[in-house]
Amino acid sequence: MPVSTPATAVIVGSGIVGAATAYFLTQHGVKVTLLDAVAPAAEATGAADGAVSVASKRPGPMMTAALSGVALYRELAATGLFSDIFKSRSTFIVAASNEECEVLHAHAAALAGAGVRVELLAAADVRQRFSALSTQARLVVEVHDEGHAIGYQIVHRFLTAAGVTVRRASPVRSILTGDGRCAAGVVTQDGEIRADIVIVAAGNGSAELLRLENVLTPRKGQLLVTERAPALNASMPGSIMSGRYLLSKGSQKGGVTVPRGLGLVIDPLRTGQFLIGGTREDHGSRQTNDLDAVGRILRHAVALVPKLASVRLLRSFAGLRTAVVDGLPLVGRIPGYENAFVATGFEGDGICLGPVVGRALASLACGAEPAIDLRPFAPSRFADHGVVA
């Protein structure tokens, strides 16, 4: 473990995790060089649903981390850094079938048991609290104190606040090995960049760099944005998450996923628009959206919020999340190195967890105690999978 704060760091990847880590390292007085194969927020961060949420989590390390993630957003909103880019709102989980009601009852109890403020709304309460919801909503659970943030805005804010410039179009070829168990920096197409510590937060790009092709896997998500619909938007007190999402996400079934899962989240944005998602697909290009998925998502959305039918769809887009085979992210020291770290594999939780993980990683790299428990996410659990060295 480094005995003192490093003077310099090189960070590979300027998604939300890399940008957050850069920001917090700068706060520790570290001089940061931030590299990206393309540009800031060019991949998953720029195509995320933006949930800052514990609503879909089961008790366990991910829920614990997500609670800290939400708390940090609130803190940074209160202190000014995120004041105008974090939207505080509830998440309303909606069950429309017997199966979904059953799962949702159990899920609400689990959330409550973990100290999350939840409220069960019966049909009459729903009509009053959330008039835009259709009568198909049989059971609604309001998860309080959640929020929404747009990934690329968070990245932009972190980078601007840290005063860090990004070296765009700078893919990293390898980690430069120094003496003993030390990394000396990284190798790019333009040559070596030396630094006291190396941090890999390169999303799916981390796989090749760290030889984790068998550990990290891309998971496509398709998302939709509507035009502004201010009246409908203002009538929604929070986001809607279909109870089916709990089934689709596999978080109730121990990480079992189907090749193409369809969930539904409808988030009323600060602009008056709606963000509607999404899919979880093990195959597919991030360049494409298909009518089949878009039509199914929207059919489900209109079933729950009928007034959406008259709102126009403005854009579709897609991104590739980085998933880890065991469903937990990969955060911590890279096996074989004293001074090289990785933070990736957040799948659909990168926006929620990016800042809090960036802060924890900066602490770890500076020899301080991280504010969240990173042990469940330690890369050493895959040490036999050919992580570098």
């Binding site: 540009a39 927020a41 601007t160 009518l291 709102v311």
Partner: protein, 441 residues
Amino acid sequence: MIEAQVLVIGAGPAGLAAAIEASRAGLAVTVVEQRETIGGAIYRQAVLGAPATYQPPAVRARWRRLVHDFAGCGITVRHGSVFLGIDGDGLAIVENRGTGHVEPVAAKAVIIAVGAIEKVLPRPGWNKAGVSTVGGLQIMMKETGRAPEGRILLAGSGPLLIAVAAQMARLGNAPVAVVEAGDPFRHPLTGGGLLAYPTLLAEALFYLKDVWLRGIPWLRATTVAGIEAGADGLVATLHDYTGTERRVAVDRIGLHDGIRPNDFGLSTPPGTSPVVVTAGDCREALGAVAAEADGRRAALSVIRLLQQREEVGTTAALRRERNAQGLLSELFAPVSARPLLSGLTDDTVLCRCENRTVGDLKALCGKEDPLSGREVKHNGRFAMGACQGRFCAENTARLMAELRQDAPAPSAVDLTGRRWPIRPVPIGALVCASDDTSKQE
């Protein structure tokens, strides 16, 4: 689900020529067209009872021949159908505005011929009510047979301004003036080059004679520097090449700074099916004659690509039109050497949908590290609105290039991306589309 051997998008000259050529080669062709008539913008037809548009005989002859040939092919045209793009499964997505449903089309080949859009450079006040595009005014005239009412100023650059001035005059309301940034008379040698293109020259003279005979002021080497609201209507401030300023009070202003391909958001499917070819002005904006030639080229390309041979390249007819348009661009090049956009005041609106200004973009681009087009879109909301970048992406990219000459110049597509729907579409219409497939679940 609709099935088609060849799907042609757009019934302007490129689409019609492509459909005719493909049909004559024995392929089954379906044409989708957003309007109720064929012809596109250039051959827009008048509503019943309205007088036909004042156009040179050669233009009318080209149209009659196209209509005749097209009618002889017995091709199905689906009117009221808006093309939304090609999805990741290779389906062409078409919104039927009649039924309010989205209709997926499975085609072996798709020829996209959706024409050009007008370029309009931002100027202070260009977003005020009463300001529209010159092409928009012309379309209205073609459809209704009536000139726009009131005192009209046409401004910008290019031969279209002259054509519309003549057409307005013929319909009884000549514009107050035509303001032209270039000055063709300064380039007599280039003008002489037009002698090699007699049809084009005849077309130019056909309209110019009306402008001269009726004494419509053609203010060359002059620009509209700003538009303000006046006591009754609008006041345009004109700057000529000597630096002289004058003000003109009018009711409406038409702006036009050329045309560019209407290729916003167009993507090709990831695989090899369907074969997708773009044709006409949406591939390269060279006008109606070139569009027809390019439509034929596209159809031949489709035939070859379906046989897994290579696409047909630029033809001699296309090269000729490209040269002619090149001459016109030189003739109408702006006389003032000032940068087009970076000299604009900070409060000049760049993106009308999201109300983003020149100053907003300058603030974003003033950082040490130059932002990419996509970052400017994300963090500045340029090209993010309902027009999906049609009116601002190119101007934003151009201003970025003027501001950051140290960075690679971004293009409009860096801001817009390539995604469907290329036009906003009601969610209800898409929901109907998926009903079809849901029955098979």
